[in-house]
């Protein structure tokens, strides 16, 4: 079967899931939500179909499963957000349409993604500026002590989501060019390979600047992700595990030093170590996350059946609308959406979500393996790694594997910048994949 036909077939489960999910939520909550809201799902599916047709024409050889898998995640997110509050599902579906439009634009503009290599320092600068933006007066906005977003009129935007793509592009192109120089030992000291500093210099400067910006904006989750992706790419480029080890040690030391200095960070660690004994603000939300998961059990309470909105006498007097206020689980539609999924769909549903991320990672790394040149391989591997790490950082935070840091669950969490950025990331992966899977004769006339 042709790749695009397989893709179309793989979109069938997505359609079924959206239909079944929306119906289930609608039935359990029919007294309070309007019939019209059922169309949000249809709206989303139509957009997916249009995108599929677009891929049929523009990227006929691209991996057939990446798009349906991401659509599946988006569908799960949409259903759960619909369950939390139906108005939010409309916003989310609308953002999807915007995201899919940018997805198509990316594919059209970057059909030859190798141009990115030429502008790598420009892209790196743009990435760092994006990270710096939330600290700029006038447009910066502080959320939970961290400077995560910028406000442009009515639009709230988290620039770190876009910055991650910029940084990965830079790292991939720089490492592709210098990988040989980096992996050749300049000197050996105590059994460790010391790379030539000259070639590491630019890398360290750009990475260091990115890290510094993150420290300044106190966005821990993103810094964890960025650092993970940096080490992953370094390892893929040089195949030297000792670099990773040194990097981890550096990160450990840095995190320890910073952690004891910034109260926001040390609080998170304290809560992580003992969520039930800690008195730091935010301990409650980790407790509530664990309680919600315990409530889910093996099979979950069912969509719309679990306790999320506090009933009348328990609800606090709220200025803000639900779910910002009046929800037993804080931020159920963003940071803690995984806990909502676990509560309603149980361990099985949650494992299903993790499995989808694992499959996306598999397809992404497969693209990297099949890619024809170093830059393509590093780009695909880097984008896949940072995507998978983002999922790990937030699910890990919600399940107390690591300290909780606020990043979005890719394609699932409510939020425009996350969806848009990940759509662009997916578009890049598909462009690389199309080049990798294109029969050689067509690709460049080189027949091996």
């Amino acid at each position: 079967m042709r790749a695009r036909n397989r893709e179309l077939l793989a979109l069938v489960p997505v359609a079924l899931l959206v239909t079944a999910g929306f119906t289930a939520v609608f039935i359990t909550k029919s007294e309070q939500i309007g019939d019209l809201s059922l169309t949000y799902g249809g709206y989303f599916l139509a957009a997916c179909l249009v995108c599929h047709l677009f891929l049929r024409f523009r990227l006929p050889y691209a991996d057939p499963y990446l798009f349906p898998l991401c659509a599946l995640l988006a569908a799960i997110g949409l259903v759960v957000i619909y369950r939390i509050k139906e108005d939010l599902a409309f916003d989310q579906a609308s953002v999807f349409v915007l995201g899919l439009a940018l997805f198509c634009v990316t594919i059209v503009v970057l059909r030859d993604y190798h141009v990115l290599e030429r502008y790598r320092y420009l892209i790196a600068t743009a990435g760092i500026l994006l990270l710096l933006a939330p600290r700029l007066p006038g447009i910066g906005a502080q959320v939970n002590e961290a400077y995560l977003g910028i406000k442009l009129g009515p639009v709230n935007f988290q620039p770190s989501e876009l910055a991650k793509i910029c940084i990965v592009i830079f790292l991939a192109s720089y490492l592709a060019e210098n990988r040989e120089l980096l992996s050749v030992a300049a000197r050996r000291f105590l059994g460790l390979t010391i790379p030539p500093l000259k070639h590491f210099g630019p890398l360290l400067v750009v990475w260091g600047a990115a890290m510094l910006m993150l420290v300044a904006t106190r966005d821990l989750g993103s810094s964890l992700m960025f650092f993970g992706a940096f080490l992953a790419l370094l390892y893929v480029a040089t195949a030297r595990f000792s670099y990773v080890l040194v990097g981890l040690l550096m990160f450990g030391a840095g995190a320890y030093l910073l952690g004891s200095g910034i109260s926001h960070v040390s609080d998170r660690v304290e809560i992580w170590l003992d969520p039930f004994g800690s008195t730091a603000t935010g301990a409650g939300q980790v407790q509530q996350s664990l309680f919600a998961q315990a409530d889910g059990g093996l099979f979950g309470r069912g969509l719309g059946e679990s306790l999320l909105r506090l009933p009348g006498p328990f609800a606090p007097d709220c200025q803000q609308p639900f779910p910002e206020c009046g929800s037993i689980l804080p931020a159920p539609h963003t940071d803690f959406i995984y806990a909502v999924i676990t509560m309603e769909l149980g361990l099985f549903g949650a494992c299903g979500v993790i499995l989808i991320y694992a499959l996306i990672a598999a397809r992404g790394f497969k693209t990297a393996v099949m890619a024809p040149d170093g830059f393509s391989k590093l780009l695909a591997a880097g984008l896949t790694a940072i995507f998978a790490l983002q999922a790990f950082v937030i699910i890990g935070g919600v399940t107390k594997v690591i300290p909780l840091t606020g990043v979005t669950l890719p394609f699932v969490s409510f939020g425009g910048s996350s969806i848009v950025a990940n759509m662009i990331l997916l578009a890049l992966l598909l462009v690389v994949s199309d080049a990798a899977r294109r029969p050689r004769a067509e690709a460049g006339g080189v027949v091996s």
Binding site: V236, A315, I328, F365
Partner: protein, 489 residues
């Protein structure tokens, strides 16, 4: 570069595996522990959304009901107790702020309609709102009211902080009355402030004296000693001992009431007049091991097997200075008459002494005590009903018959001769434990059952630290009045 890519993927999979592991930890392995955390309000909030079943007495008086309260689409229900303080003990309360207690806690699953997972699934498919079962208790409201009133009158004397009475149906184990004064109105516990006020109030009204207070049982303990003596075959009702006063027990002289010497008397006489020196010798001859064995058969040394939360019951037995239950190295002669020394004193809850009376009344077999008469689901189907169960075979029917005869003598010509129950013959035993000699502060007891030929009700009553009170004068009339009331039904 392909090998590092594959290894990187393997590492990512490892990370995802830890996520699966931790998710299963919270959802399955640690789920119960998390659900029980104090800071977890989910179970209580969810339970408040279910109309809890009503609680009614066997004579049809409503004790507890759920009424809708609050605004919002999903109503919540709040518990209301129309009888006020009458059933505070033992029914307890159920409120979000302070949690559950008493029968509200022990029968919580029935009251909120918790069934197995499969039944819940079917309910969900039928789109049926969960609803609790209505339960009927074995308690009798009229007798409960009478008992509470009489106990209340008894504690108005200065100095007495409380009193309690328990009445059990010997053949079924059904608890008909459980009264403890001072009581409390569960409606007042609804808020933390109310709970706080009651828990610091004088004489601890939240404390259920019927099941939580262990008092020196005084001479009512002689019934336990007699049961052990007769059933072990070491004594007969006509076994004769020298009941002079004083005699040495464990090297310390023991006196009879008023220092009276009885000379050579048999066991029936010794019980009729509650002769300390006789029973202390019986205790010494039986020995520690035998005494403890029979006490255990009566239910001592364990919480009563009653459907109340464990922390609302106390175990009876021999308790040393440190408050620990001991089974050896105590003055068995004095324990046999309901006293003891520093190394171990006999202590019993009113509930335990009612079980002693009930076991003898039921041919020596102790039935498992219970409050639950019946539970009906919202469709009116009976889902649970009192099914009498044997708790233990304490003594033989023969020994029980002999002991019944002896206890009947107590009510006819002995220390309880002034008491009557509706003209029927009944069996009983008085007890007066001396708490403070200088101002004659005593712990009067009376345990009894009636009628002797076909016992329908067994009872134990006691008044705490009562000045100048004796078992036959103070506790006896309360117990017999409650028995009369219950026998009239």
């Amino acid at each position: 570069m392909n090998t590092p890519i594959v290894r990187l993927y393997a590492f990512i999979l490892l990370l995802f595996a830890t996520l699966v592991y931790f998710t299963s930890k919270w959802t399955v392995f640690d789920a119960d522990e998390l659900a029980d955390k104090d800071s977890n309000r989910r179970p209580l909030i969810e339970q408040q959304q279910i109309p809890r079943g009503t609680i009614t007495t066997s004579d049809g008086v409503l004790i507890a009901e759920s009424v809708p309260a609050g605004r919002g689409r999903r109503p919540v229900f709040v518990r209301r107790y129309p009888q006020g303080a009458l059933f505070g003990h033992p029914v307890g309360y159920s409120f979000v702020d302070v949690g559950n207690s008493g029968i509200e806690e022990s029968e919580n699953d029935l009251l909120i309609g918790e069934e197995n997972e499969f039944a819940t699934l079917i309910d969900e498919l039928r789109d049926r709102q969960p609803e609790g079962a209505d339960i009927t208790l074995t308690l009798d409201a009229e007798a409960q009211r009478l008992a509470t009133q009489l106990l209340q009158n008894a504690v108005t004397d200065p100095g007495s902080p409380g009193a309690a009475l328990v009445a059990i149906e010997p053949k079924t184990g059904a608890v008909r009355v459980m009264a403890s004064v001072p009581g409390y109105d569960p409606n007042e516990v609804r808020t933390d402030a109310g709970f706080e006020r009651l828990s610091t109030a004088p004489n601890s009204p939240l404390f259920s004296r019927a099941t939580q207070a262990t008092y020196p049982p005084g001479s009512t303990m002689k019934v336990v000693t007699a049961a052990a003596a007769l059933d072990s075959g070491e004594f007969e009702p006509d076994s004769v001992l020298d009941a002079s006063s004083p005699i040495d027990i464990s090297g310390v002289p023991l006196e009879n009431d008023g220092g009276r010497s009885f000379g050579q008397i048999d066991m029936t006489t010794a019980l009729t007049f509650s002769v300390n020196t006789y029973w202390a010798q019986v205790g010494e001859e039986l020995g520690t091991e035998t005494m403890v064995k029979y006490m255990e058969r009566f239910g001592f040394y364990e919480d009563p097997e009653l459907d109340l939360p464990g922390d609302e019951m106390a175990a009876s037995g021999v308790i040393n200075e440190k408050g620990k239950l001991v089974k050896e190295d105590f003055d068995v002669g004095r324990v046999a008459i309901g006293q003891g020394g520093a190394e171990g004193q006999a202590r019993a809850t009113p509930m335990q002494m009612a079980e002693v009376a009930a076991a003898i009344a039921n041919d020596g077999t102790l039935m498992r005590p219970t409050f639950l008469q019946q539970a009906r689901d919202p469709d009116g189907r009976v889902i649970e009903e009192l099914d009498p169960e044997e708790q233990s075979k304490v003594i033989s029917k023969e020994a029980a018959d002999q002991l019944t005869q002896m206890m009947q003598k107590v009510t006819e010509e002995g220390t309880a001769a002034g008491l009557s129950v509706d003209g029927v013959s009944f069996a009983g035993k008085t007890g007066t434990a001396e708490i403070r000699l200088e101002d004659r502060t005593n712990q009067p007891w009376f345990i009894a059952f009636a009628p002797t030929d076909d016992p329908q009700i067994a009872v134990a009553a006691t008044v705490e630290r009562c000045q100048g009170c004796f078992g036959g004068d103070t506790a006896g009339p309360i117990a017999t009045a409650v028995m009369e009331n219950l026998l009239g039904k």
